[in-house]
């Protein structure tokens, strides 16, 4: 499943499969294909990437700083860079990962904080986590939910950040390692396991109890696949 960048060769898509000339790409197009079209000079592909990720990157940037002008400037610089270097960029399998990695490097440089020395590089409230269950059928134990929220508040900025990358953004450990600038993938795993451990201690109940309460709360809901 994992393909290294060098292994992917981008043959040009047949016209019907390409999304040049359409406002939105066909859903069958993968990130690799959209990125490949962009690198080959497709303006609709570039516009699609911009339109899709501007709001995403804006929210991401605001987790680091309250300065919305700075966030917009960095998005602008990033996309100008992409546009100018389009033909020399390497292949990517996840556009969001590529953009997050580039964006974070740029904003950290701007904020001029040493991320390896201090945890305190996010803005007040940055990467704060909320638990809003998306399935209205699932009635979770409100008391437990509240205690979980409180426990999440006690996490450090980096702990909150990794939780969001992993459980909200859907990045894997390899991607998180790159985004957060860890030397080794183990460091990402260690940060995550320590974070989970801290949460468990904060909740002050055994995993078994948590599980029972939650399970009771969502009885009746089912996995849809």
């Amino acid at each position: 499943m994992n393909v290294s960048c060098d292994d992917i060769s981008f043959t040009h898509l047949p016209e019907s499969e390409s999304f040049a000339g359409r406002a939105t790409p066909p859903s069958s197009l993968t990130d690799e294909q959209i990125w490949a079209e962009f690198r080959q000079g497709s303006q609709p592909a570039f516009e699609h990437i911009y339109t899709k990720y501007f709001p995403v990157l804006y929210n991401y940037g605001r987790q680091f700083t309250a300065d919305s002008e700075l966030v917009k400037d960095i998005i602008q610089d990033l996309f100008i860079y992409l546009q100018q270097k389009r033909s020399t960029l390497s292949a990517v399998s996840s556009i969001k990962f590529y953009l997050y990695k580039s964006f974070r490097n740029r904003i950290i440089r701007h904020l001029n904080r040493n991320i390896f020395v201090t945890n305190d590089f996010t803005v007040e409230g940055g990467f704060d986590i909320a638990l809003n269950h998306q399935n209205p059928e699932a009635e979770m134990d409100e008391d437990l939910l509240q205690r979980m929220q409180q426990a999440l508040q006690t996490l450090s900025a980096r702990q909150k950040e990794i939780i969001m990358y992993y459980y909200y953004e859907g990045f894997n450990y390899a991607q998180i390692t790159t985004i957060m600038g860890f030397g080794k993938i183990e460091y990402a795993r260690i940060l995550m396991s320590r974070t989970i451990l801290k949460l468990r201690k904060m909740l002050g109940v055994s995993a078994f109890v948590v599980e029972l309460i939650l399970a009771a709360g969502i009885s009746g809901s089912c996995v849809t696949v």
Binding site: E15, S68, Q76, G170
Partner: protein
């Protein structure tokens, strides 16, 4: 794999499980559907784990202001067209220079995406000898043309575009007679050249207007977005070149064979692209040529009559009758339409 004995917490901590919840693929869906039918006792835990993972949100989710996305996009576009011709980019200037052009670029990109698909006919390169393609508009007509590279040309009345059928494959050269508004697809490797008499306009990706009717005493190139280079060829005394920024226009005087640069009013120069006629301090020759082309009429001036008037007017989507009515109201001459001829007579002469 041991999923049979997993607790909810172990599911939440499992990388492959999280991958399925956050980045599902048909393959993963199939795997878990199949696994759950074989392990129904784990359904509850899987559902709980899924719900918890999916409930994780940003507490402060920031939305950009309406307009931010467009404003930033136009700056990105502007930086692109600039960087390709001018290497000394000073980004400080952009916000001021390009604000007015923002809407135009976005509209052009949006329109482009729907048009290109209809018009994209792939021409095999090097197979067949290129042949000349000509697109003409009659008087009273306007045409929208989408080139193989996706660039868009709005061709005003009584105008002509010619290009080789291999346009876009190795070059982007075309010739223009008359007036057209160009929205050029960016392509650093193949600059877009427009030949108009002694003038060559070079551009990489931008939008601008060229007015180059053979009968007119001058050629005008007016830039909406990006940077455009206009060069007068060797047949002119001084082989000269100007570089235009947005809201700048160059006027090439055919008599003096000189390029001058000045700012322009888009409401005036680009009025026709919005089906408007806008004239400011225009002489009779100007209003005559504009109306003749737009409405496919011919002006017939009474013998010995010299119309020396200045015209200032804006018309939007009106008939030639209405325009002549307005002229008659202010002018010291009388304009009368008979079939396709406009007779200009002295007022007291009836």
């Amino acid at each position: 794999m041991g999923y049979e004995n997993f607790t909810t917490e172990e599911f939440i901590g499992d990388q492959d499980f999280v991958r399925w919840v956050k980045n599902p693929t048909a393959e993963l869906d199939l795997f878990w559907a199949d696994w759950l039918t074989r392990n129904p006792e784990q359904k509850q835990k899987v559902a709980t784990a899924r719900n918890i993972i999916l409930s994780v949100q940003y507490k402060n989710h920031y939305q950009p202001n309406a307009g931010d996305m467009q404003a930033v996009w136009s700056k990105i576009q502007a930086a692109d067209s600039d960087s390709q011709l001018a290497s000394d980019t000073s980004r400080q200037l952009w916000p001021v220079l390009f604000r007015s052009a923002a809407a135009l670029v976005l509209i052009s990109v949006a329109a482009l995406t729907s048009w290109r698909y209809l018009n994209s006919t792939k021409i095999p390169t090097g197979q067949v000898a290129a042949k000349l393609i000509e697109v003409k508009t009659a008087r009273g007509k306007k045409d929208l043309l989408v080139l193989p590279d996706g660039s868009r040309i709005t061709l005003n009345a009584d105008s002509r575009i010619t290009y080789q059928s291999d346009f876009g494959s190795t070059h982007r050269d075309l010739t223009l007679e008359g007036e057209a508004f160009f929205e050029v697809q960016p392509d650093k490797t193949k600059p877009f050249h427009i030949q108009t008499g002694n003038l060559t306009t070079t551009v990489v990706g931008t939008s601008f207007n060229i007015n180059a009717h053979k009968a007119d005493p001058q050629i005008k190139v007016a830039v909406s977005t990006g940077i455009v280079e206009v060069a007068a060829d060797r047949q002119t005394p001084q082989e000269s070149m100007v570089r235009l920024r947005p809201s700048q226009m160059t006027i090439f005087s055919k008599a003096e064979k000189e390029l001058t640069v000045r700012s322009f009013d888009p409401d005036l120069e680009l009025a026709w692209t919005n089906d408007r006629i806008a004239l400011k301090n225009a002489d009779f020759a100007q209003i005559k040529s504009v109306l003749e082309r737009r409405y496919d009429v011919t002006f017939v001036v009474d013998k010995g009559l010299e119309v020396k008037e200045e015209f200032n007017a804006t018309f939007e989507n009106v008939s030639i009758d209405k325009i002549l009515d307005a002229l008659n109201y202010t002018s010291e001459f009388h304009y009368k339409l008979v079939k396709d001829k406009v007779f200009v007579t002295r007022k007291n002469a009836k």
